[in-house]
Symmetry: C2
Subunit: 367 residues, 2 copies
Amino acid sequence: MSYLDQITSPTLLLDEKICRANLQKMADKAKRHGMQLIPHFKTAQSHKIGNWAKEYGITEITTSSIKMAEYLSGQGWERIHIAFPFNPLEADRLNEIASSQGMSVQLINTETAQKLADTLTNPVSFFIEIDAGYGRTGVDSKDYLGIQKILDIAKSSTNLNFRGFYLHPGHTYYGDIPSIYEETREALSRLKKEFKSQYPDLVTRTGDTPGCSVVEDFGDIDQLGPGNFVFYDLMQAYLGSCSKSDIAVAMAVPVVDIKKDRKEILVHGGGVHFAKDVLSREDGGKNFGELVYLNDDGWVIPEDGSHLKSISQEHGVLKASDELLNKVKVGDVLGILPIHSCMTADCMGAYLTLDGKWVDHAEGSKN
Amino acid sequence: MSYLDQITSPTLLLDEKICRANLQKMADKAKRHGMQLIPHFKTAQSHKIGNWAKEYGITEITTSSIKMAEYLSGQGWERIHIAFPFNPLEADRLNEIASSQGMSVQLINTETAQKLADTLTNPVSFFIEIDAGYGRTGVDSKDYLGIQKILDIAKSSTNLNFRGFYLHPGHTYYGDIPSIYEETREALSRLKKEFKSQYPDLVTRTGDTPGCSVVEDFGDIDQLGPGNFVFYDLMQAYLGSCSKSDIAVAMAVPVVDIKKDRKEILVHGGGVHFAKDVLSREDGGKNFGELVYLNDDGWVIPEDGSHLKSISQEHGVLKASDELLNKVKVGDVLGILPIHSCMTADCMGAYLTLDGKWVDHAEGSKN
């Protein structure tokens, strides 16, 4: 029986081969540069995909919330890092998880450092997050005094252990990657030199998918932490991080109506499935996802421009090529490559593989 | 103990009093116009809030998917309508649910009508959805032949029963409401006249929140089906459907960092909590939600312009007023009125009331 026979409603398909190839490629790249790959699992959020990752030498992962860390704990990871400025109200939850799981967190101010120094009952490592320059979060890379204050508070605690500096250059999604990476290398290298005498074992980590995919000079950075690369998506393909054939997930959407005169197909697949990330097309239109043809082995990517031109909560309107219009029928199932796979996976909460097996996601099945 | 003591992570707060006042007001309006209120429960998606609705004379509800209908079935509703062009692949699931729950669906083509005529094993009513004029979905209101073809197929089945015409003028979110409603009244009235001789009991339904909130002339339309009004949100407030004090939900977000020099506050609250709906501000900036001050009784809406200027998957950056900056501390919990409450509730999957009780949502707790 084909996996296609299981689909009656919007379903997020996962091509294990592509996903494994992405893991392999990034693991090889880290190895080639003498770096450790610690993928951000906010994209996959899965025990099963975690087990695949372990086959490529991956021993640590990152999450973006304590809730996600709770889900992924107890699965044999040496350490789980929460790459979000630690929320001091979650200190009890951190203590609970750290009683049985190696954990690290991210600090950017003295208030939260003090809170953890005062309340931790189990060892937890921490990174200091460095502002990558686009101002979302982090300590300024030249604010040595601010950094030292956090470190001094940590020294007062036997449970709060400094691990190094974390810098997420998320502006590679819209900026010039080479110059951003020049700044990233410089900042992390300078910080390492500045604090190495106090902390000989400190490490530095960076990790956006666009940068990790295309950059070949990481200087003396120790760890790579990309997340999205596990699946990639159309945003990454248009940024040049991958090709469309590297995208490991596609949404299967049932066709509910066809308007031949308008060259539009109405599918069941909207904002609650894809989230609402969108790209602009060269013709000025919007692109909420692009058509692929599903078959028993996975999907084929046509070059005919069929794409989701609009979505609402449950509806998707596909601008369709003549080729597609000529063969599509109400009740067919089409595939759509997502714009932003992390958000899409988070909406769907489960994956169906091409051999018809369900793969877990932290949010639980929402099919 | 205050409900505030329960909050350590992003949490969607629900003010029952405001929610009930919204239900009461819309029920009164329907009554005043001699119409039946059949709210769209894609917003609330809740058994508990459904029970509140029943206290205002509401006996039928609408959902946007069969999954949501499955969740809300068996709760004493006379009928649950799925306001989405029926997906023929879900016919088995419809049969299952219709064996114990009054159901209606929406048809817009002969293919799906035939599929249901061939496979239904239990009685199901249907509406024919009429294109409101903005082309998302539905049969053209003057396509009597197309409508008759669907009706003729239904006549061949003892289980598929025509109920009437459904027209969702969703373009009231960006168009001129009075003229849109003039067209809506005209189309539904004309269709009623045209098909009344064949179906003396047919009803007509319309139901967008902006229109249902402000329009006072519904002509001979029989049923009102808005959804968002149960909670309202900032989009509705800026459209003029409600005032900000009518918004029944607010996200509680923990403060994780404060940048006084930039007048910014970093909160735990991002795209996985709010979804990514956004409004444009008059100053050209973006608005992903607006600040409210939480207290033991709920929240107070300041007029100081503090708002979420950007969000990513978990991060929210709040542009803060001086008043807020002067009193906020890391570890505080702030409130944010959402841009689009339907999507926000769908992301969160649970509500916390101001008396500290959890209220269910179809997506399950995601706190």
